[in-house]
Amino acid sequence: MRRVLGPWQFLRKQSSYLEAHTRVRGRPIQLSIAEKVPRIRALQHRLQLNDIPADALARSLIDGTSTLDYVNNTGLSRFGRTLLSFYALRHFMIKYPRLPSHVLKHLVHQYTSMPALAEHAKLWGIQPDNRSSLGRYLSGEEDTDGLGFLSYSDKIQEVEPGIQKIQSGSAVTSLTDAMGGCVRAIVASVYAHRGLELVEQFVSQYIIEPRQVDLTQIMAFSKPTRELSVLCAREGMEPPVSRLLAESGRFSSQAVFVAGVFSGDMKLGEGQGTSLNEARTRAAVNALQGWYLFSPKVSNYVDAGEVVI
């Protein structure tokens, strides 16, 4: 087993700070027991995690609201969220360095939010078990039988057929949040045993690459023509001018206009619409999308910042 060591051994002097703020409850999961759980072995094979100990994966599947008397994934999930946010942000910031900050934030959220991660958990074959300790006792099961399932306390309880009770508080959670939390915890477990470089590969392979988001659909501009004018002024380009490139059926009920927006001789964008104004606006949006979705070949491109209007 490889230890991941950092250059911060000097921080051991700060152990009083860290000891005072450590919160953990439950007993440890024994490796010998976790290794015999078929669901955990299946998860190891499915995600190519054979080098990750079974007890760490079993712990990743126990939510903070679980009634199992084992250590849970609260801390791991928190750490995993930090890892996921950083790597998702870094991925998109290097790929599209000119994206506005609010679009970047939205994009990172699309990939790392609980509903998005819960979808991954379903694809990975993680199955929930929200039975109470009494329910397990009545079924003649022990805590060890709950290992391998996603253990949590659901905030929606069926009191009787057709009637559901929705609870609130920190002792219960939703299935989506529990699923998302376990994915974050698995990412943290991968980091703990493989280190930063390999966890980046894992995040890229299992979280970022399988999901595709159409960036042109999530970018909206309130004043595109004005924003384009400010952008051209900032970048030292000639002011943008819209020109009509083509038209059809001007006096009919289904007119189509094609407009282009130019800075000097350089064509910045093109758009079409049922009126001259719509075509001009769409051309400006097209030009702005071309600017913001620029993807450089080098990874150390630093953007000056989005346009302020």
Partner: protein, 204 residues
């Protein structure tokens, strides 16, 4: 008796008029009175803060410029600060997990690391209050370019500057150098923990 009606007209000379363009000399000046892009001495405190970590002068200047300055007409530090804050949070959590393993029995750690440290304690390490203190200690206050409605230097602007330096090192020199920058300059030189601990006690 005849009354003579008189009217007194007075006018105030306004510095700017609505609709007219401001002169660059009016808005391209920092609160400390330095004209953008600054004098040769403007970057000196930032270079001292960076230590052995080299960045190009335009990038250092970008780290010192807040989005509020000159209505975003010059490169500013918003996105550098964004990625820098994420990296700083990650490194603080990593450092705490690695160094806090003595706070737990060995069987509760994961590969010798403690992931059960309170989130408040880690968040505070990278909070605006702590980073603002570092910015002040590094003597960067007078070199910042910003404009706020009250012309008051807030902790948020200072914190963004420190985060922006982390982000700039990350994008310019890669993650290994950025982690080393955080460990050497922020954790050792400016000791995040010693600044954070009294703040945590005060907030508790």
């Amino acid at each position: 008796m005849a009354y003579i009606q008189t009217r007194h007209v007075s006018s105030l000379a306004a510095v700017t008029a609505k609709g007219l363009r401001k002169l660059p000399e009016q808005y391209m000046r920092s609160v400390a009175g330095v004209m953008y892009p600054g004098e040769p001495t403007t970057l000196a405190p930032a270079k001292k803060f960076l230590g052995d970590f080299k960045l190009s002068d335009p990038l250092i200047l970008q780290c010192l410029v807040h989005k509020s300055f000159a209505h975003g007409k010059v490169p500013y530090n918003e996105k550098l600060a964004f990625i820098g804050s994420e990296l700083l949070r990650l490194e603080a959590a990593r450092a705490a997990a690695q160094a806090g393993n003595q706070a737990l029995p060995k069987e509760l750690t994961i590969n010798g690391q403690n992931f059960d440290i309170s989130s408040n304690a880690i968040e505070l390490l990278t909070s605006a209050q702590v980073l603002s203190k570092i910015c002040q200690n590094a003597g960067l206050d007078d070199t910042l370019f910003y404009k706020t409605p009250k012309r008051d230097l807030t902790s948020s602007i200072r914190a963004k500057t420190v985060n922006a330096f982390v982000g700039a090192v990350l994008l310019e020199s890669g993650s290994t150098a950025a982690f080393r920058f955080i460990d050497d300059r922020l954790m050792r030189e400016h000791n995040l923990f010693s600044i954070a601990e009294p703040l945590y006690r005060d907030s508790a």
